[in-house]
Assembly symmetry: C2
């Protein structure tokens, strides 16, 4: 098997630093720590990147993908809008606020980024079936990408997901299996399946392809910096489910500094959780280094991971950068969705309500400096979580088509 | 009032050629024909355009907007993906097929393009309230753009629309009025309202701002040509609701030729309707020049305009270019949605099912040359018309989280 992972040279253990050949592995044989991709970057210039396509492949020289990746059949996600959010900033008292709106991706969540990298790994390793455990967005991203790449798909979700996410995970074809249980149970089941002959030849994007997959989140960091004019934000608010996205955005910022693509300016990273599934914010506030698993109960189902694999790393990063991990109630999530929509025309899914709600709370509690450049992430689409706003999702009036009826109504 | 419409110099009547000053007018005082924007283009180069932003404002020198439009608060739609659809092409027997996927716009339909131009007209004319009659997508696009531009909104829809479209039209704020009637009745009501003191100071994007608004559809033509490497497609399939989009794509192609931005190669334009609302395809097939209004009954609600204003122009263009206007049944619409999703990972709304369904029918009936470069439009998002695929929008299996249960299920 001849592998082509571009600038990636090895897998290395995040805990003990042990190195391994690039392969479909995810845990260190020495210490069981998580493996991540190690690189040998050549020289990379802003001009090279700017000359690339309007999707994540403009950063192909910083990702574990072949140099010709842009010419293959994939979903070409990324290069989503960084919305200058002056209206929302005014409402919250923040001077220079931006919303990174990942609802613009092909299946309308940031998951298209990570899956695109996992597809290249699956091709490298010769896997013909793509799989995953998912809280919903990932299932749609995997089945869509598999359809386009000509791969089979078999994906696993909690059976009680939002209707729109189930529909979207099914329409692209492939097998969609509902599991009677929480996401954490779905995830455990997938770990068992990978050790069974039924699943041991499959590419589970967030299990045996996880080291590659997770790198896709770095592109959020690259895009934000480039879209700010090649500089880092001072403060960024990121949703925390498994915690992987937050840790990879930090990794992305550090790479840009190391490569001389941005100035080495300080940044604070804030994690955002829903109170109904807030194991990481609970640990942060208590000053703990370990995260106690919880049983999720929140409308923010895409963040409903009760046992977040990267929770301890999130705590490290929030503390090291001078940020924090905060949480908001489901009612605050709904208010924040409406606030973002009515100020900026961005319709976020519940996870976006969590980040915007946490942003407001960070300002209100003095944890965030409103005079600094601040970016808040919306990682998904309001059309997938309509239940959250169902109480107000009706016309303000219903009338006959006559001026008299309209006059009476207004 | 000092107006700034960039290269636009006048309104001119499409029927009799009478010219008028730029203003909030839409019908010729001489012959009641529709008014459209007339320009005096300077020299425009490919390089100028390519140096512009990744949205419709890269074509600002071809649109009725101020030169600094990109720095204003608007939704920055456009520059959506032209997906090279080799899988779908193989399934249909077409050699070089592309899907222009406008679900990537901010509110996930092509309507963001036209509304963005209308917002600039509203600013020019000093309107503080944006309004429209809508089959759904437009209402969401208008309320979102109004929120971001700091304008009020009051929009009108048939009361029986899809839930997702109602929710999206409401979440951005503004007034959402459901009318007990068809879209054509909503539209007539808006025409009355504009003559009443209640509405005569409003900017109705598709009534008194229609000449400007409609120009936004030209950007689909510009993008397709640029994304094909500055050449025109040989064949293009466009949905027909009012018919405005199809006529403006033709206008856009002709402008590119006149400006020397593309070679003058022949192209065939095909219109696509759902059989349950097919007044234009009926007229085309009967060889008529006039379009008999119908009462719509189709799942493709975004195309359910029974009395299409630009129907006769669609007939002209289809005949002049050697194209056609075809229709498909609702069942064919659903099949086409699934075919597109399972081959290309693109989840279209029912209007996209109509165009892809018509594409298949055109090939099957020999009306389309499968050896030529062909573009098919998807103008909206499957998440807004979930009812169309509801019968299959469930997991393929629901099981306990155990290998035994999975073995039994597969």
């Amino acid at each position: 098997m001849s592998l082509d992972f571009g600038p990636a040279v090895a897998l290395s253990c995040r805990e003990c630093g042990a190195r391994y050949d690039l392969g479909p592995s995810f845990a260190c044989l020495e210490c069981f720590g998580p493996l991540e991709v190690a690189y040998s970057f050549g020289s990379v210039s802003r001009a090279d990147i700017e000359a690339g396509p309007a999707n994540i492949w403009r950063y192909r020289s910083l990702l574990p993908v072949p140099v010709d990746v842009a010419s293959k059949q994939n979903m070409n996600p990324g290069w989503t809008k960084l919305v200058k959010a002056d209206n929302l900033g005014k409402a919250l008292g923040i001077r220079d606020l931006h919303v990174k709106d990942d609802s613009g991706n092909p299946t309308h969540s940031f998951k298209d980024r990570v899956v695109a990298i996992a597809v290249e790994a699956a091709r490298n390793f010769g896997f013909h079936t793509l799989s995953c455990s998912s809280t919903g967005n990932l299932a749609g991203a995997v089945t869509a990408a598999a359809a386009r790449a000509g791969l089979d798909a078999c994906v696993f979700i909690p059976a009680d997901l939002e209707q729109a996410k189930i529909a979207m995970a099914r329409v692209f074809g492939g097998k969609l299996v509902g599991i009677q249980g929480t996401y954490d149970e779905v995830n455990r089941f997938c770990s068992e399946l990978i050790g069974d002959p039924l699943g041991d030849k499959w590419g589970f994007v967030n299990v045996n392809l996880r080291p590659y997959y997770a790198e896709g989140s770095k592109t959020l960091a690259y895009e934000i910096a480039e879209q700010l004019g090649w500089r880092l934000p001072d403060q960024i608010i990121i949703p925390v489910a498994s915690g992987s996205q937050l840790t990879k955005i930090d990794k992305g910022f550090k790479e840009l500094i190391a490569l001389g693509l941005v100035e080495d300016t300080p940044y604070k990273i804030f994690g955002a959780q829903a109170l109904g599934c807030s194991p990481v914010s609970t640990a942060f506030k208590a000053g703990h280094d370990v995260v106690q698993p919880v049983k999720p109960d929140t409308i923010a189902k895409s963040l409903a991971i009760g046992n977040p694999a990267d929770g301890p790393y999130v705590l490290d990063i929030a503390r090291r950068t001078g940020g924090a991990v905060e949480d908001v109630t489901d009612a605050e999530v709904v208010s924040a969705i409406k606030l973002l929509a009515s100020t900026e025309g961005v319709f976020a899914e519940t996870a976006g309500g969590v980040t915007v709600g946490v942003l407001k709370k960070l300002v209100d509690t003095g944890q965030l400096d409103p005079s600094l450049t601040t970016v808040v992430l919306n990682t998904g689409d309001g059309l997938k979580t309509l239940d959250a706003i169902a109480d107000d999702a009706t016309p303000t009036a219903v009338i006959r088509p006559s001026l008299d009826a309209f006059r009476a109504a207004v």
